[in-house]
């Protein structure tokens, strides 16, 4: 196992190899000396219930775990189907809120039955997301729709808002269900199957407020400390995420602007049809073609209206999701950095302690010892014992942290690839969908005007208009 630790740090293409390789050399020594178990289940990190059973195996197999195979998510291999629908509002004395029906159909053995139906509110989704993030700080959780839309003064109980939110929640759960790690989460299972009472009591378990505070403090401390030698690939990831975040936000804004302009165009166009109709009332020969044109313009208005709606309901939500994803990615990278910072800090501390131990075998403590009336040998023995104990503790702690870091890095790397694939698929199909819709829009308008031409042609022949020779 230690061999693979070295491999990993080297293969990550680390240019500033100063600390890792030095440390790994020392770790090698210690491992051989102290015969420690390298990996142990660390219950302070995560809520036990959300730990995957496979995490108990050695890290070697754990690393393999994270090399997600080429996932063919065929309908055949999919064994869990989740739907979110049927929003209902609930009124209590204190508040009004919306619940959504969550229906699950599955063939998985860990579920007691094959069909479940529960009602969940937004808070419950938030809870689930939080749990998954806590359990897997460097895995990428698909974003939830935002708490409250401020722009455009959308009411919480506005129909469109509820539908948009429902659709996003549906996507969220499906992304979780598709994820190899998340979908096995106990919290996820409970979310899908528990009655509301059961869920409430389950929510109360798990790391309490203080432990979560502890984690936050640690994270802040680590963030302040900073990372000394981030592996290149994570730096690359960070650069990518920065750029991606900008681009996807731009595209989101451009699309929203297009929707605005289209709506304003529609407003003006809506006045054209009635004007042609008004004109037709003053005419005799021209009345029919004018009325016809009025009808055509009105039909095109309808098509434009639907095209705008499609843009709003399909492309914009997807873009918005990925804007939020960019933020998620940034957070994940930060958390990974924090873990590494923690590891680096502990490594430094251990090195310092060891230096102390070596330095202590010199004169200084002997002098002190003679003052308190102990023999130099005694003092030296005591000091050495004490240091040995401390060093062992720190080594244990360091090993745990190192494992944690390695685990986090591998998890992130695999999930990153997975995320990129997903992003590519989602955005590609959203853009294709939009392009198809636009083609369809133009095709429909084309048909409208061609039928007008057709009618004029028939008219001309019918009236036997000789004028147009």
């Amino acid at each position: 196992m230690s061999g693979s630790v070295v491999d990993n740090t080297v293969s990550s293409g680390n240019s500033s190899a100063a600390i890792p390789t030095d440390i790994s050399g020392q770790i090698l020594d210690l491992d051989e000396d102290d015969d420690l178990e390298v990996f142990s289940k660390d219950t302070t990190l995560t809520d036990g219930s959300s730990l995957n059973a496979s995490m108990q195996t050695s890290s070697a197999s754990m690393i393999n775990q994270y090399k997600f195979e080429e996932e063919e998510e065929d309908a055949d291999t999919k064994d869990i189907f989740v739907t979110v629908d049927n929003p209902e509002s609930h009124v209590t004395a204190i508040e009004t809120y919306i619940t959504y029906r969550v229906e699950t159909k599955t063939t998985r053995s860990e579920f007691d039955s094959s069909e479940f139906e529960v009602r969940r509110r937004y808070q419950d989704f938030l809870w689930l997301k939080g749990r998954l993030e806590e359990a897997h700080p460097t895995l990428i959780v698909h974003p939830l729709p935002e708490k409250f839309v401020m722009k455009g003064m959308v009411e919480r109980f506005n129909e469109d808002f509820i539908e948009t939110r429902r659709s996003a929640l549906h996507k969220f759960l499906n992304k979780i269900a598709e994820h190899p790690i998340f979908s096995s989460s106990e919290d996820f299972k409970i979310f899908l199957t528990a009655g509301s009472g059961e869920l409430t009591s389950h929510k109360k378990q798990g790391p309490g407020f203080l432990s979560r505070m502890g984690e936050t403090v640690k994270a802040v401390a680590a963030a302040v400390r900073g990372v000394r030698s981030r592996p290149q690939e994570f730096t690359d990831m960070q650069e990518y995420v920065e750029a991606f975040s900008q681009k996807i936000s731009s595209i989101d804004k451009v699309t929203q602007r297009i929707v605005r302009e289209q709506k304003e165009y529609l407003e003006e166009l809506k006045e054209c049809g009635p004007t042609y109709a008004l004109w037709s009332q003053s005419e005799e020969e021209l009345a029919e073609p004018l009325k016809n044109v009025a009808g055509c313009v009105d039909k095109c208005c309808k098509e434009t209206d639907e095209q705008v709606k499609h843009l709003n309901d399909h492309l914009i939500p997807v873009l918005h999701e990925y804007v939020l994803c960019a933020d998620t990615l940034k957070a994940v990278l930060r958390r990974r950095d924090n873990i590494q910072a923690d590891f680096e800090a502990k490594t430094e501390a251990l090195a310092t302690k060891k230096a102390d131990r070596d330095a202590d075998s010199k004169v200084l403590s002997l002098a002190w010892g003679s003052l308190v009336g102990r023999s130099p040998e005694e003092v030296k023995q005591q000091k050495q014992q004490k240091l040995k104990g401390e060093i062992k503790e720190m080594r244990d702690e360091l090993d745990k942290t190192e494992d944690r870091l390695e685990w986090a890095n591998n998890a992130l790397k695999s999930d990153w690839t997975r995320w990129q694939k997903g992003m590519r698929t989602d955005l590609r199909s959203a853009f294709i969908d939009t392009a198809e819709r636009n083609v369809s829009y133009y095709e429909k308008c084309l048909a409208v005007w061609e039928s007008f031409l057709q009618s004029q042609r028939t008219d001309a022949e019918g009236n036997g208009n000789v004028d147009f020779s």
Partner: protein
């Protein structure tokens, strides 16, 4: 659809007609109307040029001149293609020509000139008279005006019109000599005066009402259309931003890069396509504008009828009152109030000699009055007859032209849709490669 072989069918069948092609179709229609003028002469306004010179108050000014080219029809068909006769004219000279025609043929619906200033603009178009797009559209409008006049059965025979086309120098003097300017001024005054007609011809009253409605509805349509064009421009242009962002984004992606980059190019093409689309729509707007101004000419004819009718009624009224006066004088009864009557009451009756003299004068006046009434009546009837013929002709022309305009509008929409389909299909293919 059975091919009846008529050109009209061919026009609709070909939905890829460009504006210049449909413009040619209109010209062909006018030419084939076959006035004797157009039978022997091809007319066009070929070019426009900027000039600077001193104006009436001796200040430097820049103005545009337009090249009128005329060419004998036979020569062109012989295939020799000689150099056409040509001369330069400014817009103000066209205005003079039109004013001359208006006063000389008040019973005709005189074709309008293209607008003096750009109206119903949307933001992209400049309202500046020197703007090249405006000048170009005006050139087309002026040519259209000349062809309209040349294809009119009466107007095409006018000598002043002919010399406008053929005589560079001296035309101004010739036209001034007709004294049209004075007539134009008085005509303007008369048309703007308010008066009440007792018995207008019903058809003319209806026509005037129609002219009002036509003017109002076309104005509204042009306004709405301009606003919609403005918005449509915005929609297309914002898509250009996709092009830029996709290009930047493709730089950070590996597999998605190519697809994004090429999709971005199509978005740029889409954004750029709106310029052509809206230029074609301007052509449609110009066709509507011509009839907006035609509506004015139509109203002017109806107004002129009212004027002649009014003058007839005035003359008749005057005659009636004179006859009444004669009767009173002859019978000695005073039925109508007259100052003479009052004063004679106050200051005593007139002498028989005085009465004799007065009667004689009245008789003369009545004779003259009857002549006048007959004359005016004749004028009125003449006017109604010729004007109504021209109005009927105008109605047919309007129905035909506007119908063609609506058809060309549909063709434009179809062309726009086809372009859209192409661009988005291309984009879709690029997205598939992402």
């Amino acid at each position: 659809m059975a091919d009846s072989g008529s050109e009209y069918i061919a026009v609709i069948g070909n939905t890829d007609l460009t504006p210049s092609e449909s413009e040619n179709n209109l010209k062909n229609t006018m030419v084939e109307k076959g006035t004797s003028l157009l039978k022997k002469m091809e007319i066009s306004v070929a070019e426009a040029e900027k000039r600077t010179g001193k104006n009436a108050v001796n200040m430097q000014e820049t103005y545009t001149v337009y090249l009128i080219e005329t060419r004998p029809v036979d020569a062109a068909s012989e295939g020799t293609n000689p150099v056409p006769d040509s001369l330069w004219r400014r817009y103000s000279e066209f205005e003079q020509l039109r004013n001359y025609l208006l006063v000389t043929y008040p019973f005709l619906v005189v074709p309008p000139l293209p607008e003096k200033r750009a109206e119903f603009v949307w933001h992209k178009l400049s309202a500046d008279n020197m703007d090249p797009d405006f000048v170009e559209r005006r050139r087309v409008g002026l040519e259209n005006f000349l062809l309209r006049v040349a294809s009119h059965p009466d107007l095409s025979t006018d000598k002043i019109f002919y010399s406008f086309l053929t005589e560079e120098n001296g035309w101004k003097e010739t036209v001034f000599e007709t004294g049209f300017q004075a007539k134009a001024d008085s005509r303007l005054k008369a048309l703007n005066a308010t008066f009440r007609v007792k018995n207008p011809d019903k058809r003319f009253a209806e026509m005037k009402h129609y002219g009002d409605e036509l003017q109002s509805v076309i104005s509204q349509l042009l306004r709405v259309r301009a606003r919609a064009a403005d918005r449509l421009y915005g929609v297309y242009k914002v898509h250009g931003n996709y092009g830029r962002v996709f290009s930047e984004w493709s730089a950070i992606e590996k597999e998605m890069g190519d697809g994004l980059q090429s999709a971005g190019h199509h978005m740029d093409a889409y954004a750029a396509s709106v310029d052509d689309i809206l230029e074609e729509e301007e052509h449609y707007a110009d066709q509507l504008k011509e009839y907006l101004f035609y509506a004015d000419a139509l109203r002017a004819v109806c107004r002129k009828h009212e004027l002649t009718q009014y003058e007839l009624e005035m003359a008749a009224q005057d005659l009636t009152s004179k006859k009444q006066q004669r009767e009173e004088l002859a019978t000695g009864t005073i039925r109508t109030f007259s100052l003479k009557g009052m004063t004679s009451k106050l200051f005593g009756q007139e002498t028989p000699e005085q009465r004799e003299a007065k009667l004689k004068m009245l008789e003369t006046q009545i004779e003259e009055g009857e002549e006048l009434v007959k004359e005016r009546n004749g004028e009125c009837e003449e006017f109604v007859k010729s004007a109504w013929v021209d109005i009927e002709r105008f109605k047919e022309q309007k129905d035909h032209d506007l119908r063609e305009a609506l058809i060309s509008y549909a063709i434009m929409q179809i062309s726009m849709c086809k372009k859209g389909i192409q661009v988005w299909n291309n984009a879709k293919e690029c997205f598939s490669k992402m």
